[in-house]
Amino acid sequence: LLPYLLLAPALVLLAGMLYPFGLGLYYSLTSYWLQYPNRFRFVWFDNYVSLVSEPLFARAMQFTLGFTLVAVIVQVGLGLAVALFLHARIPGRNVIRALMLMPLMMPPVITALMWKIMMASTNGGILNYMLSFIGVDPINWFGSTQGAVVSVLIIDTWGNLPFVALVLLGGLQALPTEPYEAAQVDGASPVAMLRYLTLPLLSPFLVLVMTFRTMDSLRIFDVIYATTAGGPNDATTNLLFMAYQYSFQWYQMGKGMAQAVVLLLLVVIASYLLLRLWNRAAENAAQ
């Protein structure tokens, strides 16, 4: 009985978490619309079916998946480069490491606002001003559809690169040294060592960090909310933002919840697949 007693507070909190979750699940099956309380009915999967014919849903899905793919590739790639760089013996390494971690301490909304100020396209935002020195025409950061997507990607990368680099750096430091000594004796080139030693040994960490970044990129909200608010022309509306708009701007709770549930399924499937990959990578690396 004692273990259950010890677990009780956590289970109470868990119930507090599962209750709104269950409520959301229930609302996704109803025609809950705040403006029309009289029309509240249980409609089974009507909300889900209507999503299929909803053009915004297709675009939001496209943006969510595309953004996640690009963001994970860019951030893990750059993060690996930064981690390898910070792992090398360079003067002032510890100072650079400490400074590099600073974006991690920023709340995402503040990060987004910071960049929004710097990316002002009119009245000479600092970024366009600096780019003009190397002959780049002013970029319409948040005003054009492609520009907004790239801007969100840049801001997200700035905020999350330290996390990726930190995890991979921890992984690099935990690698065994014997294979490297053996490779050195055999006269392997640094590139070969990176390709045939570091990457395979590091693969559990790579997959782990990819899992985290995939989950977080699929449900990115703060940056979009603080900068583009889904625009322009819904170019940066992802599933979560669309669910937010439906629920709290258009008050169609039922549809909004249905979108949130679809997003949840997406996140669960993606993370399940990645965690399975992680188990396999960890087993391979341990051998």
Binding site: N94, M114, I117, L169, V267
Partner: protein
């Protein structure tokens, strides 16, 4: 003469490393620098075209947070900054206290006892992590805080277990043998330790963390 290419190569390599370091620092630090500068600017300097790096600094923006607007620069009323500050403190202390209060006994129970449905509760905790952000849409703020603290407590448990696991794998044979003398509870892939072992490992863990963060250098803690 044979060493010359290698010599030049090393110079080139150092130059590349230095350039990378500068690029990394500019990329990371410039936004902070620019926001700091902006916070010290008067409204006219903020919107100046082109942007200026040279201006007369002012602390009006900061004093406005505490004592309100002095020159009526903005249309909005004075933000109740102390109150916002207090809110942050209440929320962070509350969330930490709640998660520790619920997390410690739960972690102890999961580590020390075997009971039916034990694995189920681990899975449910993972589900809690998955649903965290999708659920922030629910406007039930109070419940949301509970979710958040639960998420972080299970997160801490998982991470601690993983760290201990990695650390134990890395320990040299001698200390490993020493640790093996103390009974370990191994459960699948998770490796959970008693408090005694925790104390043995904690020192190394702290040191390792400090090294990873690079803040304390490579000096061993004592």
């Amino acid at each position: 003469m044979t060493f010359r290419p290698a010599f030049r190569q090393r110079y080139l390599w150092n130059a590349v490393l230095a350039a990378a370091a500068i690029m990394l620092l500019v990329w990371t630090m410039f936004p902070f620098l620019w926001i700091l500068l902006t916070s010290l600017k008067s409204p006219a300097d903020v919107i100046s075209v082109p942007p200026t790096f040279v201006f007369t600094p002012t602390i009006d923006n900061y004093s406005a947070l505490v004592i309100g607007e002095q020159h009526g620069q903005y249309a909005s009323a004075r933000p109740d900054f102390p109150r916002f500050f207090l809110n942050s403190i209440i929320i962070s202390i509350g969330a930490v206290a709640l998660s520790i209060a619920a997390g410690i006994p739960a972690a102890y129970a999961l580590a020390r006892y075997n009971f039916p449905f034990k694995n189920v509760s681990w899975q449910v905790r993972l589900l809690a992590y998955w649903t965290r952000k999708t659920n922030t849409i629910d406007r039930i703020k109070c419940l949301d805080h509970c979710t958040y603290s639960l998420r972080s407590s299970s997160d801490v448990c998982l991470r601690l277990c993983k760290k201990l696991h990695n650390l134990l794998r890395k320990l040299d044979e001698e200390r490993l043998a020493l640790l093996r003398a103390v009974p370990l509870v191994t459960e699948g892939k998770r490796l959970i330790c008693s408090t005694r072992e925790l104390n043995v490992v904690k020192l190394g863990l702290l040191q390792r963390l400090a090294q990873t963060l690079g803040i304390l250098g490579r000096k061993p803690l004592s």
